[in-house]
Symmetry: C2
Subunit: 506 residues, 2 copies
């Protein structure tokens, strides 16, 4: 029910997004941030339900693509890192020898990794022989086991996933769902017999991400990350970014093609049908509670949250009107609940003894997609009143209520997609041309704050560096969507269909 007292204190206007966001996550009772460790929030029932429904979308995709759910231990012994360090050293040596730069990671000091994890050093009063860390992600624990599980080509593909909490010793400012220290995390890890198998998996991952983001009504940019932003040990990294209303991009999903780089580090081999031993190829696909952060940030308004129907904890709030006057109101509305339940529609009968205005207010804050009111007059006329959280209000015939509610849920989802798409269009602009002035490069017109800029680009890494310095923004990488017609690269002038973006990332 949220905390009406607090809500009445008022939600900051959404136009002040950086005030609105931290306020609404608590007013709508998604989390409580008062736990005494910064960046470790308490999930309240309403927030946890929404997150569990997002997990459900991921599980549905996993099940449809024959991935199997596992659960690996939280703690990783430090000495398992030897293999990961070996990978890093190998790639570093390759870079120094000037080989294929796609094999390189830039952030290749293993101390970088060690700086981001929590270390368990004692069990009880005993200092542990080998310290252990809390998983920041699960390559090391998983691949240690994969190398025991995979023997033959008949064991492949191995398609696994887990939904667990991961931990990062975050030193930047924390924000609920967006940057936290205990992270609700989804990770799929697959093993294939060759590069093509892994490449097909990346395509499958791309489709799953778009299916989920469609359900969440979130337009997004898909990019192949620049090499210096590629995941350690990956051949390449793809990422989906949502553009938040303040113009900052939020990375909500990544999928990595590892080729056989991790397999070589973990000695992950198989025997093919000819009895030959080969290294496996691998991929990883990750998402997190940032999906919920995006939903909150993109869809909410001055009145509160708006939950996409696919993950609304309660899709329909049933509001009995004047039930104390006529006994049949409660029985009729209970019948409606049962009818909706048969369709798998999540409804909540709010029979609190408070004024209808209070209920409206509460459910507006919590962003339930549909409110359905039923009073004596409605029963007499064979109707009920449907109010969509996105604005429409109308009578619906009780006889065909299932159709009306289904259509109303679709209507809310469509409206959220349309609104988010408008916001997205207003935030993603074309980058002004670059002109050469006396002092070097400069933009033909100044950049605005809080915008993402798109532009044709086929330059090299140092060209990209010039752009980042000039704009004060970050390169998202090569967009999965190309220009239809070639355009001149903003730096080299060479015609290209490659689209890139500069943005301020969360």
């Amino acid at each position: 029910m949220g905390n009406p007292k607090k809500a009445k204190r008022g939600i900051p206007p959404k136009s002040e997004f950086n005030l609105w966001y931290p306020s609404i996550v608590e007013i709508a009772d998604l989390v409580d941030k008062r736990y005494p460790i910064k960046g470790m929030d308490v999930w309240k029932p309403y927030g946890l339900k929404a997150m569990s429904l997002i997990d459900g979308l991921a599980r549905d995709q996993m099940s449809a693509t024959n991935h199997h759910e596992h659960r690996f231990p939280l703690l990783v012994p430090e000495n398992l890192l030897d293999k990961e360090n070996k990978l890093v050293s190998r790639l570093k040596a390759a870079r120094e020898a000037g080989v294929d730069p796609s094999e390189l990671r830039m952030d290749d000091e293993d101390s970088g990794f060690k700086k981001e994890v929590y270390w368990v050093t004692h069990g009880g009063e005993n200092e542990l022989d080998s310290p252990m860390f809390l998983r920041p992600t699960s390559e090391t624990p998983m691949y240690t086991m994969f190398s025991l599980w995979v023997r033959s080509h008949t064991d492949l593909p191995l398609k696994t996933f887990q939904i667990v909490n991961t931990f990062r010793y975050e030193t930047k400012q924390t924000r609920s769902f967006i940057r936290v220290r205990e992270i609700h995390f989804f990770e799929a890890h697959t093993v294939h017999s060759n590069e093509e198998g892994a490449t097909d998996q990346i395509t499958e991952d791309a489709n799953m991400v778009q299916t989920i983001l469609h359900d969440l009504c979130l337009p997004n940019l898909v990019s192949k990350r620049p090499i210096w932003d590629t995941f350690p040990g990956a051949w390449y990294t793809m990422a989906a970014d949502v553009v938040m209303p303040n113009g900052r991009t939020l990375q909500v999903a990544t999928y990595h093609h590892y080729r056989d780089q991790w397999a070589k580090a973990f000695d992950l081999k198989y025997e093919d049908s000819n009895g030959e031993t080969k290294f496996c190829h691998q991929t990883t696909f990750g998402m997190s509670e940032r999906l919920l952060g995006s939903v909150v940030g993109m869809h909410g308004d001055d009145q509160g949250l708006i939950m996409p129907p696919a993950i609304a904890p309660f899709q329909v709030i049933l509001l009995p009107i004047a039930a104390h006057i006529r006994d049949d109101v409660m029985s009729e509305i209970s019948t409606i609940r049962d009818r909706l339940g048969k369709l798998g529609i999540r409804s909540y009968l709010d029979d609190r003894d408070v004024r209808p205005g209070v209920k409206h207010f509460d459910w507006e804050i919590k962003g339930a997609p549909i409110r359905l009111e039923l009073g004596p007059r409605d029963i007499d006329s064979g109707n009920c009143v449907i109010t969509e959280r996105t604005g429409k209000k109308y009578d619906a015939n009780l006889a065909t209520l299932e159709d009306a509610v289904t259509a109303a849920l679709e209507s809310v989802a469509d409206e959220l997609r349309a609104r988010a798409s408008n916001v997205f269009s207003s935030l993603v602009l074309e980058l002004p041309d670059i002109i050469n002035s006396e002092s070097g490069h400069e933009f033909s017109s100044p950049l605005s704050d809080g915008k993402v800029y798109s532009f044709p680009f086929c330059g090299n890494d140092s060209d990209a560096e010039v752009l980042e310095k000039l704009s004060g923004l970050t390169m998202l990488g090569e967009c999965a969507e190309n220009y239809r017609e070639p355009r001149n690269c903003i730096i080299t002038g060479i015609p290209t269909t490659n689209k890139h973006h500069l943005a301020r990332m969360y």
Copy 2:
């Protein structure tokens, strides 16, 4: 699918329970114990599914009793322990002052607690100002928040639960599901306005435990634990113990009445309807992956697991016979799958291209309750063949298949309950009389290994100590079930209806 190669190596006979148990959990592919930290197993898909279904039973009970699911952080700052230490000191002082012994905990050195947890001392390369520990259970993090949430009597009762992993630095020998270091854990915590509210909650908990254990087909003993085995800070602790086939009891559920003892430590107060400030009363209810360990241990046989239908990942295995000869076999058996799916029955169509004998063998190990075979001859006669994992095999009419499968699932559950009840009866014996010999007390006949002993008892703590020393066993506490007619206390000779048990506990 398990690992047939391994399985063919043979499962030890169940009569050698201490060999059979660790073997079957891996052969049936519930967990992999080869992760490099002892007592932290990798959950394989089949084991995780069974555990998730057990979680589902708990969630159903929570939902029916209006508990709400939360999720609290894993890490607890050491300085939050001050409150817990205060509680311990208060109870210690009370004991020294000779007050109500029901208020005491025996294990009251806070260092005892500190010996059992994992300590996080570093974030990255920084030593933390205040060390944090991995939750062994969640009183401290939860009650810290509860004292922010509870203000008025209208906030009560507060009924919460979470399903998370907890951690214990276990120094004893670890066993999958039974004694592990990362524990899949269920914990419900409630807050009430008075003792009666908490007492009613204990009754509700007792009923939920029995409902779940009925679904798991597990007979059990419910006892009020002796004072020295009461949970720290509890007024009293109730526990349900399963008797494993080796005669050792396994505590699978506990529920604690705290009165206002924890509330006083955490300053958890509310304003009643007269504006008066009062301390809350609280309860806790906990279960864990030991429930799955009990299922494995109680129901399995020489051939493998037997899954109770309520939590079988696949309740019905559909086996097409001679599908290569007649095309309609696959279409008919797919229709059966869809028909069962509509009833919410979990089925798995095993269409692997291997001999039927291999499939039988695999599913016997995994303990699927029902196998359903369908071949050309069955289609022609309008039947299929049902084999219950507990032994029965018969033809079932395809026209009324839903009824037959539903009845078969009930039959397997009933048979498991009957078998478990027989084992239980054979393991729980009456304690021989105590006679006074020259050297002190002794039993009139020697005790057998691997048995639980029941007896009438109304003695005091030192009488109990005599019994434990004499038997080498542990007192489970006062049984929730009394004798119908008074019997003479085995020590004092005073007639009593109080039943007690001595057992070797896991």
